[in-house]
């Protein structure tokens, strides 16, 4: 059996310290710094790989994953609206969170498969970027209809010029242009420190999660179930898609994880500006208080097993 990954333990440390109300707080500037490093590092890694293969080969995958990004919130919305009896804006906003992706969860998956030396396709960061955007657009349309009033210019600005996309895409492009040799000189900061930086990030995520859990009681059972079942459902869709696209078992599992993960950076920021009447506590409680810990602690190994089954049953 594999040992517990220490980065998960950092998450648990943060979570427990937060629940115990310990005097532990990471300065906001450090949280920012650490996220910036992670986003750039993930982008760079993807970019280096893109430099090795013709972009055209990836186009089918990109389009398929884009389609999944549009589909997932459309699956989530009716569940939230009718089963969960959420107001329209809230259902749309939560659906957008779950249709998009979490970079932190992706990083945990990368670490997980890296430790186990399981191969996955190196252009995954590109799919991460691709998956980030469509759910936001769907969420806004679900909340507002195709209303003329929506200031799509502002929306697009918010979506494409948010910190997450700019740094991921920027990293991708830098890695792609500079190539494997070019990046050697910045490797010690962005690659060698990656898991250590991720550990610090997860420590803070544990503290943030603990703060969200307080509001869990308020929203009760439906949100709790949704926050654990929706990712499993999405993961299945992701795993099947990965298999259909001919990804390796590892790649399938990572795509399943991407599908399962729920955004807590890009989408909240965009929803705040574009669908302000949606209650951010609801969506953050779900995505940070339930789904993030679920994915980090249980989800990733589960989606690993899922990908193995899919590949075993459906053939490689």
């Amino acid at each position: 059996m594999n040992p517990i990954d220490p980065i998960i333990l950092f998450f648990l440390l943060g979570l427990i310290a937060g629940l115990a109300r310990a005097e532990l707080r990471l300065p906001a500037a450090i949280y920012d710094f650490v996220s910036i490093l992670l986003l750039l590092a993930i982008g760079l890694k993807g970019g280096i790989e893109l430099a090795k293969q013709p972009f055209g080969d990836l186009l089918p995958q990109i389009l398929a994953v884009l389609a999944m990004g549009f589909a997932l919130p459309l699956v989530a919305y009716p569940v939230l609206r009718h089963l969960g009896r959420f107001q329209r804006a809230d259902a749309a906003s939560i659906a957008a969170h779950y249709g998009s992706v979490s970079v932190g969860t992706y990083a945990v998956a990368v670490a997980y498969f890296g430790t186990r030396e399981i191969f996955f396709e190196a252009h995954m960061p590109l799919l991460l970027v691709v998956l980030e955007v469509p759910a936001i657009l769907v969420g806004i349309v679900l909340a507002r209809g195709m209303s003329r009033e929506t200031r799509w210019g502002a929306v697009m600005h918010e979506v494409f010029l948010g910190k997450g996309i700019v740094l991921l895409l920027g990293g991708l492009l830098i890695g792609w242009i500079a190539g494997p040799e070019g990046v050697v000189s910045i490797k010690p900061l962005f690659f060698d420190l990656f898991k250590g930086i991720l550990a610090i990030f997860l420590l803070e995520m544990g503290l943030i999660t603990a703060a969200q859990i307080g509001s869990l009681r308020q929203y009760g059972l439906f949100l709790l179930s949704f926050g654990m079942l929706m990712p499993v459902g999405s993961a299945l869709i992701g795993a099947l898609l990965g298999w259909a696209l001919g990804l390796s078992m590892g790649g399938t599992a990572v795509l399943a994880t991407l599908a399962a993960s729920a955004s807590y950076i890009a989408v909240p920021a965009a929803m705040r500006v574009s669908v302000p009447e949606a209650n951010p506590t609801l969506s953050l409680t779900a995505s940070l208080g339930i789904t993030f810990p679920f994915n980090v602690l249980i989800g990733v190994p589960l989606y690993h097993a899922m990908a193995e089954r899919v590949h075993a049953f459906l053939g490689a």
Partner: protein, 103 residues
């Protein structure tokens, strides 16, 4: 420092979510504020604790010194546009300024 009438202006203080900073600042410009000062903040209110640990829970505190009309316009706009959907609080007081021609 006499509280001479022509040196009296309104000081508006707004505490709200960091997420809407750019929109807010654009509004202030449009509504005729000649300047503003922003500090990072955290706090508690109707919408719970906002501890500034990360983006979604950070507050900003904006101060605007301006004349009465601009203050009224800003207050009205914020109340109409943001008060219901955002963590926001606003208060106003009278202050005496140096160089009143600036405001």
């Amino acid at each position: 420092m006499s509280l001479a009438n022509d040196r009296i202006r309104k000081l508006l203080t707004i505490v709200t979510e960091g997420a809407i900073e750019s929109a807010l600042v654009r509004d202030l410009d449009r509504l005729g504020a000649h300047g503003y000062t922003i500090t990072e903040a955290r706090g508690k209110g109707r919408r719970g604790v906002r501890n500034a640990g990360w983006d979604a829970s950070s507050n900003i505190r904006i101060e605007v010194v301006c004349n009465d009309d601009t203050a009224a316009a800003i207050a009205a706009h914020l109340q109409a546009q943001y008060y219901d959907n955002y963590a926001m609080i606003l208060w106003a007081s009278e202050v005496e300024v140096l160089r009143p021609e600036k405001f």
